[in-house]
């Protein structure tokens, strides 16, 4: 916002204008003072503004939820998004030039990974399933990763590059690699006004691209817009989803009034009696948060198997069975898990099938096939 105001003032106020003490002159004088006070003459990069490219927020989102979170110091631009996309698919971010972000956040797999655990450059497995990337600009709490360990999208980008079981690189090496390339310096100059490449600008560009990954064209979205009708099975599945006696999925995953289909909050959903991964509790150190993981969106489940933070469930049927009869008690279990002593709410086979049909109606083929999101 500050940058935009300065740009506007720069257009309005000539730097060496002559003042006349009339109202216009006083106004212009005050605006000039404001401009001069804000101006940072020493940093040409900070003054540079590439071509603005505001996020195209779907009508369903505009009508129902708050605007996306865009950091003031990283506005969306045409050049920044293009650079971020190139970086997202570039294996040169990894130490041995074999892995890109897209290697574990695979577009046709909903920007997730069909393997329970992705494999790093050393061949070592990770220990959590790759989270799908979609609608992340609408994560208002800005807690990213399964365990909330990153407090902004930009900060999230720093970790995988240097993680020894992922890309196993150093940022110094990434910066040097990109700096010595034939194309990146000019692309950074176009995006940020400088040919000097650093990790901050790399993460900014990739974040701009990831924020464009908006999914809002599922069958359910189309039904919400009145373009199609849900099948009777999908409609009944929605009822199961919303019914407290059966699914009661909506208290964590939202309902049609919130098209994100996640609360982006952290829950213990009754997977284990003992934890081998403390999740959020490992980040905060609070025993009350041991075994809590971020609620994933229900969008694009068709493409994002396996499920849960550790990819333990290969199919949606297994997920539904878990909530129906597989719940396990532990000290931090979320109160939204019901009838735990019986394993869950015991859905009928018919309700399970309908619930699955509804969940699949939230998948968006146009999202994974969008050429803007492909290499």
């Amino acid at each position: 916002m500050k940058t935009e105001v300065m740009e506007l003032l720069a257009l309005l106020v000539p730097r060496k204008s002559k003042f006349k003490m009339n109202k216009f002159g006083i106004l212009m004088g005050l605006m000039s003072l404001l401009f001069v006070a804000c101006e940072d003459n020493d940093d040409t990069a900070s003054q540079y503004m590439a071509t603005p490219a505001p996020l195209e927020v779907p009508a369903l989102f505009v009508d129902k939820i708050l605007p996306p979170v865009i950091p003031e110091d990283n506005p969306q631009t045409v050049e920044g998004i293009a650079l971020g996309k190139k970086l997202f698919f570039d294996t040169r971010l990894s130490a041995d030039n074999t892995l890109a972000c897209a290697s574990c956040h695979i577009p046709q797999e909903g920007f997730s990974d069909s393997r329970p655990f992705s494999i790093g450059i050393t061949g070592e497995e990770g220990f959590r399933n790759s989270m799908p990337l979609q609608n992340l600009a609408f994560n208002y709490g800005e807690k990213f990763n399964w365990d909330g360990s990153a407090n902004s999208l930009e900060n999230q980008m720093f970790e995988p590059v240097k993680n020894p079981i992922e890309m196993a690189n150093t940022w110094l090496n990434v910066e040097a690699t990109l700096q010595s390339s034939s194309d990146y310096p000019e692309l950074f100059e176009a995006a940020f006004g400088t040919q000097t490449i650093d990790s901050t600008l790399v993460t900014k560009a990739m974040s701009q691209f990831v924020r464009t990954l908006i999914s809002a064209n599922s069958r359910f979205d189309q039904a919400q817009l009145g373009l199609i009708e849900l099948s009777p099975q999908e409609q009944n599945g929605l009822n199961v989803f919303l019914d407290e006696t059966r699914g009661d999925c909506f208290h964590c995953h939202g309902l049609p009034a919130n098209p994100l289909w996640t609360d982006n909050a952290f829950h213990n959903n009754g997977l284990d009696a003992q934890f081998n991964d403390l999740g959020l509790g490992n980040v905060t150190g609070d025993p009350r948060e041991f075994g809590l993981f971020r609620t994933p969106s229900l969008r694009n489940l068709k493409f994002t198997a396996p499920y849960m933070h550790d990819g333990r469930f290969a199919t949606l049927d297994e997920v539904i069975d878990h909530y129906s009869e597989g719940l396990v008690f532990s000290e931090t279990i979320d109160p939204l898990m019901k009838t735990i002593s019986e394993g869950g709410v015991q859905l009928t086979d018919s309700d399970k099938a309908d619930l699955k049909a509804f969940l699949l109606s939230l998948s968006d083929d146009s999202f994974i096939n969008n050429p803007d999101f492909r290499e």
Partner: protein
């Protein structure tokens, strides 16, 4: 008579007309905003973040419980002067008690100093409880909305936790208050809803002197939700309260019967 003289005379007439000692309203000084703080206690013992999931509370029925979550919505903080003049910002505030989120709230209205009856609404009344009408509430807590088949609108309160069941095992509870909705049969769907009934209620904090830096502290005694007039047995009703009309009425009765009170009103 020049413009300045006319302005002075008009202003003096205006002040003379509005200076109403009988109403205890001071319109001569600058209008003021009023700060509120919302706190929670269990029969007088303050509930703090550290108490969630750790401190055991015993209900009137003798059931031991632990709280995990307590979020609630208040709206329409209203200041009524003694002459009946009403000042109402028509705003709302969703409080996240565990973390203290929005516990401090200043309504978006400035009023003349003086004595007022102060009140607010727990939840939304029907006029405000419009389906999916508030983008921030749609976006909050996954969604603060209520499914349309349960009458739509928004939750008033989500109180959640665990309790020691009569059989000795630990079970969960979801004490969710919403607009009461009556169904011809359960489970509910869009065809079973017969009618809804506004179960929000007005909390009257009494007469409070409002100065230029007044802070009003409101307390919720959580124990009251389980106490009076309906002694609540979590072994009987711990889940699936949203679609049950009689339970929403009962929760309304308990909440409106002393769950909220004025803790203090101070001039900073």
């Amino acid at each position: 008579m020049n413009k300045i003289a006319l302005l002075c005379i008009t202003a003096s007439l205006l002040f003379a007309c509005n200076s109403d000692d009988d109403n205890n309203i001071d319109t001569e000084s600058d209008p003021v905003s009023v700060a509120f703080q919302f706190t929670q206690n269990w029969d007088g013992n303050e509930i703090q973040n550290a108490d969630y999931e750790t401190t055991t509370y015993t209900t009137e029925n003798g059931t031991n419980l632990k709280l995990s979550k307590l979020n609630y919505l208040i709206s329409d903080i209203t200041f009524t002067a003694q002459d009946g003049t009403v000042y109402d910002a028509s705003d709302y505030n969703l409080i996240t008690a565990r973390t203290g989120g929005n516990a401090d709230f200043t309504p978006g209205i400035e009023i003349p100093e003086g004595n007022y009856n102060v009140s607010f609404t727990f939840g939304f009344d029907d006029e405000d409880n419009q389906n999916a009408a508030y983008l921030d509430l749609n976006s909050a807590d996954g969604t603060w909305s209520v499914p349309e088949m349960l009458g739509g609108g928004y939750h008033y309160m989500r109180m959640e936790g665990t309790f020691e069941a009569a059989q000795g095992n630990t079970e969960t509870f979801q004490y969710h208050t919403i607009r009461a909705n009556k169904h011809s049969s359960l489970p509910p769907d869009m065809t079973t809803l017969e009618f809804t009934e506004d179960t929000s209620f007005v909390v009257d904090l009494g007469t409070i002197e409002i100065g230029n830096s007044t802070q009003i502290v409101v307390g919720m005694n959580v124990a009251e939700w389980f106490k009076n007039p309906n002694t609540w047995d979590l072994n009987v009703n711990s889940s699936v309260m949203m679609p049950k009309y009689e339970l929403q009425i009962a929760m309304n009765e308990n909440g409106s019967n002393g769950a909220f009170s004025l803790i203090s009103a101070t001039q900073e």
